[in-house]
Symmetry: C2
């Protein structure tokens, strides 16, 4: 029945196109046929908007006009999309909204639609398999620094529940506009670790996935609460324009998250879970802005962390050209001292994202700083890059 | 700064209305000022749709036209809304979509917007407090019955991690069109139990929150995958019309979920967690269709359950008038035998939902069947009713 319906769908869409079947994206709500993905990575999107004048799709940095068909259904088939997980939105007569046909995913500060362009049928490192599974737990805790309740998610490995062992901990951060759910919902961090641990490629570890948004009462939290598709209103005559995202980021020190992490998060985790003590059992990594936060936190506190990972998250210098002698308060100036302390300094990036991270890695190497450069082939600034980064980074930890 | 902005907002909205402040709903995305709620439970909604011809709000069973204002912003202020958690949607030129200003919540088969009309500042039984917290864990397991991977969430009480004790288990189901995330996201089941356990009103227990959708290969899963706002296309001449939701529900036996529960879910839980054995340590409850499923499963398996809860979930007879001698395969025919087996039979309902559940409770009482009737004052078929049901039901379990 289902195969039959999909076959019909394939016929209906195949004018001038490949004749293979368009398969519903794995991120669709139950029963939704659209968006669907062809084997060559083209995708067809459809939304019902009977009275709209113009409907557009925004995906992977492009805006495409959709065409009106029967019964108010607007449709577009894209050119082949880069593989991976992509947030996307619809614009219906000027309103930016999520597509009601997919589950939504918190990114860019709101609940976007998502589509998954699969890597290929043989790729299963982030899928559930018939092996021992850890679990991801939601945990509430009160922050004395922000004076608010916070929620984090904690991965415990498969053998955690039954044993008495203590485990090392990876603190793992999402990116700008995302939240503490990103790593286990979009990133499948739990399944990646289950699979690595079962294959004995990674040691069993705890992963703490917190929210990088942390402001004290009275601090400006706009960096965390603006949505990408909204522009601040134009200043009226005589008014000063509001600072844009770039200006806000340049002034971002990450100090409040760092303080909250040391004051509230780490003590709560070490009190609640069976954790191995000390810096050699503590890692921190993050993607994009979470990588930026990771470097801000760890490079200023090498007495507390022995493993550092930036996934699409650092090009080295914050606010100027990289100089190994002076950047980051000179933490790289004494290469031998740095290499003795930091067991792994990992720099990951998608190959489509440009050369800046590679340049940073090479500058570090030239300055004598040991580091791992990982490039995800054919992926962009999105979750497939970061899943692959975690899959490569986690086996290097606590060995 | 924030108070100042809200004060300005209050002024802008108060033509002819109460002059109190309109507070952003607690379910909004970070930074979003709309929707906001007045102290008299009116709410103002706003969405930007510069080129739309017509924008409507659908909330609590009503459709309201929104009015276009400056810079493409469409706004409406509702009459006072019934307190509680409400799914809602926008209709933009005929397209039914979520409001991009709120977090989304899986209900009616897709990710809707949500608004919370608060009970009042003194009500905090489902809010986090400074006391010991349990945790909610995501767990993957493979179902041999459905031949698919499934995901459930498991609440373990605050003292679970540190001890060796075994605990009784409540299996708790969501409603039609929702999923396994409903009870801890919309329902705050974990916080309700944390608060009850800290107050020594409920015994520490494990709560298993699974997905009631369960189909075997080849079974028709349409009952789980149709979205409330979509109608099946009209049949073409000569075609048989597709069965509507009511016809599909009448033929629903819940048999596959029951089989999956006994074959896969309960064995996985009892193997993975420190669980007390036997029927007197096992409860099942659910809301709406989950209550329906609970009655289908438990009444046919009283050797496995001693506690039964239906929250807006049963009016007694499935497919006909209630007769204590014959309905539900005659399970109520011998009142003494039933009362000996079932420690608690709980029937909860919101007072706005009508008299059918009360009538069922009274018919049971007349037939000599002990039961608890719980009516949530002033609430509808929504999550506030079900939070209150759980808050009343949980203390009655395993005592």
């Amino acid at each position: 029945m289902r195969i039959f319906a999909l076959t019909l769908l394939g016929w209906a869409l195949c004018w001038g196109q490949a004749t293979d079947e368009c398969k519903p994206s794995t991120l669709n709500i139950p029963g939704a046929q659209y968006p669907c993905v062809y084997s060559d990575h083209r995708a067809t999107f459809q939304v019902t908007a009977p009275d709209a004048q113009r409907v557009q799709l925004k995906v992977v940095g492009k805006t495409l006009d959709m065409a009106k068909g029967e019964e108010g259904a607007w449709t577009v088939t894209t050119p082949p999309l880069v593989q991976g997980f992509h947030y996307y939105t619809l614009v219906i007569d000027g309103a930016t909204v999520a597509d009601p046909s997919t589950r939504t995913f918190f990114g860019s500060g709101w609940d976007n639609s998502g589509i998954e362009i699969p890597e290929g049928p043989e790729v299963d490192y982030y899928l559930p398999k018939d092996l021992a599974h850890g679990q991801v737990s939601q945990r509430w805790y009160y922050s004395t620094v922000t004076t608010k309740w916070r929620r984090c998610y904690v991965y415990t490995p498969p053998d955690y529940g039954s044993g008495k062992s203590r485990y090392p901990v990876l603190y793992l951060l999402h990116g700008w506009g995302e939240n503490e759910q990103g790593w286990h919902i979009q990133g499948h961090a739990d399944l990646i670790l289950d699979n690595l641990i079962a294959a004995k490629k990674a040691v069993p570890m705890i992963i703490v996935m917190d929210n990088l948004n942390a402001i004290k009462p009275g601090e400006d939290g706009k960096i965390f609460t603006s949505r990408a598709f909204e522009r601040p209103p134009a200043p009226k005559p005589g008014q000063t324009p509001a600072p844009g995202p770039r200006a806000r980021l340049a002034s971002f020190t990450g100090a409040t998250f760092t303080e909250m992490m040391f004051t509230d998060l780490i003590p709560m985790i070490e009190k609640t879970y069976r954790v191995l003590p000390g810096r050699e059992n503590r890692a921190m990594a993050g993607l994009s802005m979470g990588g930026f936060q990771t470097f801000l936190t760890t490079l200023a506190n090498l007495d507390k962390f022995a493993y550092i990972g930036g996934f699409s998250g650092s090009t080295g210098a914050f606010g100027g050209p990289f100089d190994p002698k002076t950047s980051n308060n000179g933490v790289f100036a004494d290469a031998d001292a740095f290499n003795k302390k930091v067991k792994v300094l990992f720099l990951g990036i998608g190959s489509v994202e440009g050369p800046n991270t590679k340049n940073f890695s090479e500058a570090l190497t030239k300055a004598g700083i040991h580091n791992v450069y990982f490039e995800s082939p054919g992926t962009a600034h999105e979750w497939l890059t970061w899943r692959r980064c975690l899959n490569d980074f986690a086996p290097r930890l606590f060995q």
